[in-house]
């Protein structure tokens, strides 16, 4: 009984993953400004490719960001509405968690190692969260990480200073912080990305994390991680001094 996982925090990633964590089918699209057009066809494609009946899905897993708002919402509203139609739960997983978990496998990290996962927040800032590796392989073979700091949004230079301690990471006795994610790729001077580091969240990894957390009975809310307030300006309207009827 598989789950469908989707992430729209960066590009669009969709995967159909079995209860045991096996990937049945996956698709990605690199169109950053066409999430709403790309996502639904990719969902239909993975279902068709794996020959899975939509009625057999047991959950919809969605990356909750942090991410630029419009694309993120495409994934979340799709996940919530699809889950409603199928009468199954939505499981939300922070997208940066998927990057950190994947980094553990890809970079061969060990307990105590740290990961700084980043994504592009636009406006010359990055979304980031810092993790510590708890286990290289946990339940279901999925690496276990815990959040040490973040998620938050800031300039790359600020993140580097606060989280990498600028040069102190190499000091004896301090575990290296491995920088991953495409947010850092944009600011190599501040945030040098580890070789072979994952750059965007993988929907399959997202699904595996959700399956483990579901088995552990953890709450997995699908609330978006915006981390920024909407841009709004109080109006400065010219107002006539009312002399007749007024409001």
């Amino acid at each position: 009984m598989p789950v469908l996982a989707l992430d729209t925090s960066a590009a669009v990633a969709v995967a159909l993953v079995g209860e045991d964590g096996a990937r049945l089918a996956s698709r990605t699209s690199d169109e950053r400004r066409r999430h709403a057009e790309s996502l639904a066809p990719l969902i239909a494609e993975v279902l068709a490719e794996a020959g899975v009946d939509r009625a057999d899905l047991t959950a919809v897993v969605a990356g909750t960001g942090p991410a630029p708002f419009t694309g993120l919402r495409v994934g979340l509203v799709t996940a919530r509405t699809l889950a409603l139609a199928l009468g199954i739960p939505v499981l939300g997983v922070p997208s940066l968690d998927a990057l950190a978990v994947q980094a553990v496998s890809d970079l061969g990290l060990q307990p105590g190692d740290e990961v700084l996962a980043t994504s592009d927040a636009r406006r010359r800032e990055v979304y980031w969260a810092r993790y510590r590796v708890v286990a290289h392989e946990g339940a279901g073979g999925v690496p276990v990480v815990e959040t040490v700091a973040g998620p938050d949004v800031a300039r790359a230079g600020f993140v580097a200073q606060a989280q990498l301690g600028e040069g102190t990471s190499e000091a004896a006795g301090t575990a290296a912080v491995h920088v991953v994610g495409e947010g850092a790729m944009l600011y190599p001077d501040f945030l040098p990305v580890a070789e072979d580091a994952p750059l965007v969240p993988d929907a399959t990894v997202l699904a595996r994390i959700a399956l483990v957390r579901r088995a552990q009975g953890l709450d997995q809310p699908s609330e978006p991680l915006y981390l920024r307030r909407p841009d709004v300006q109080e109006p400065v309207g010219r107002v006539v001094p009312a002399t007749g009827a007024s409001a």
């Binding site: 057009e37 639904a40 409603l84 309207g237 006539v240 009827a245």
Partner: protein, 347 residues
């Protein structure tokens, strides 16, 4: 066989609207609005509206289903606003509609919001005659449409070149120091004033405009004229007769809208006029349209106000017409179009 059950989703601005329509029968119309959150900013903030749409989507669908005592599995087709409107909000509705289409394995129909404002009247007064004129007026739109078949043949005769009628009301409301949204306040104030006290200009009615812009509207100049008039009075320390200003302004708007619409009815030999959109709540417009249509022998159809504001019913109504007309469903990759042409009924 019973007509198909169509679920309509509307999210082009700040209302999350979900409705169920079978044939021309409305089963339920549920709306969640984020208007209160916008009032303090004096206008719709797209990001605020988009966040509200995401949170309201599933609860509003559930509320609609509950009130109609319908299960999602009974839905035969999904209709959604594909444009025109605000991109962020439109994207939420379109994504939800696509997810329902996949989840229920039912066809998707992306439809035009403005044409929906006309189509909703079929739920109230039944099918349109062979040729119908539709005047759609709201805070975002002021358009004159010739409707030969609401599902397949709509011609845009004219539109506003600048502000929409409702937008002009909101702006004049602000100018007169009234709370946002100004439209209803200006309307209320206008009822106490003399509509002939001040002669404000009628946009695009001059002879030179008749050829190219016979059925187009322009309210920006009118708004400026009101501002100038108020300024001139204020400068010399004179009292502003707010009610008279409001009444004379409202008269100018209603005059232009109705005069051009009735001229279009004559020109295109149409004897039925539908007025839709939130601004059709405006009293001067309603009164003048009723009077002038009666004089011209035109059958005037204005749905009750709750159908005129943005809601799911208008989209489900148009969707229902489109499905019954046998129009091909939309693909799962349809985009939303903030400036969707008014001749495009479905995408």
């Amino acid at each position: 066989m019973a007509d198909p059950l169509v679920l309509g989703i509307e999210t082009s601005c700040d209302e999350t609207g979900i409705a169920l329509v079978r044939g021309n029968e409305l089963l339920v119309d549920a709306v969640a609005s984020s208007m209160d959150e916008h009032a303090r900013y004096g206008g719709i903030i797209p990001e605020v509206a988009s966040r509200a749409h995401l949170e309201a989507m599933v609860p509003t669908i559930q509320r609609a289903l509950g009130e109609a005592d319908v299960d999602l599995s009974e839905v035969d087709a999904i209709a959604v606003t594909a444009g025109p409107g605000l991109v962020g909000p439109l994207t939420i509705g379109a994504s939800a509609a696509k997810a329902l289409s996949i989840g229920l394995n039912r066809p998707l129909y992306g439809v035009n919001h403005v044409i929906g404002h006309a189509a909703v009247d079929q739920l109230v007064e039944g099918p349109f005659p062979e040729r119908t004129m539709a005047l759609v007026v709201s805070g975002g739109h002021s358009s004159l449409l010739l409707v030969e078949d609401v599902a397949t043949r709509v011609t845009e005769l004219g539109s506003t070149l600048d502000d929409a009628a409702g937008e002009a009301f909101d702006k004049v409301g602000r100018l007169l120091g009234l709370p946002y949204p100004g439209g209803p306040h200006v309307d209320r104030l206008a009822r106490e004033g003399d509509p002939h006290a001040i002669r404000f200009p009628r946009g695009l009615t001059a002879r030179k405009d008749q050829e190219k812009h016979a059925y187009d509207f322009s309210f920006s100049g009118l708004k400026t004229a009101v501002a100038r008039w108020v300024e001139a009075r204020t400068d010399v320390g004179q009292e502003i007769p707010l009610a008279d200003v409001a009444a004379s302004f409202a008269e100018a708007v209603a005059d232009v809208l109705t005069a051009k619409t009735i001229a279009a009815c004559h020109r295109h030999d149409v004897d039925t006029l539908v007025v839709g959109g939130g601004f059709s709540a405006n009293s001067q417009l309603r009164e003048m349209a009723a009077k002038r249509c009666a004089e011209a022998g035109i059958n005037l159809r204005i749905p009750p106000i709750r159908y005129c504001t943005d809601n799911g019913a208008m989209i489900a109504a148009l969707g229902s017409a489109v499905v019954r007309a046998g129009v091909a469903p939309s693909a799962l990759d349809i985009p939303v179009d903030s400036s969707m042409p008014l001749t495009t009924v479905t995408v």
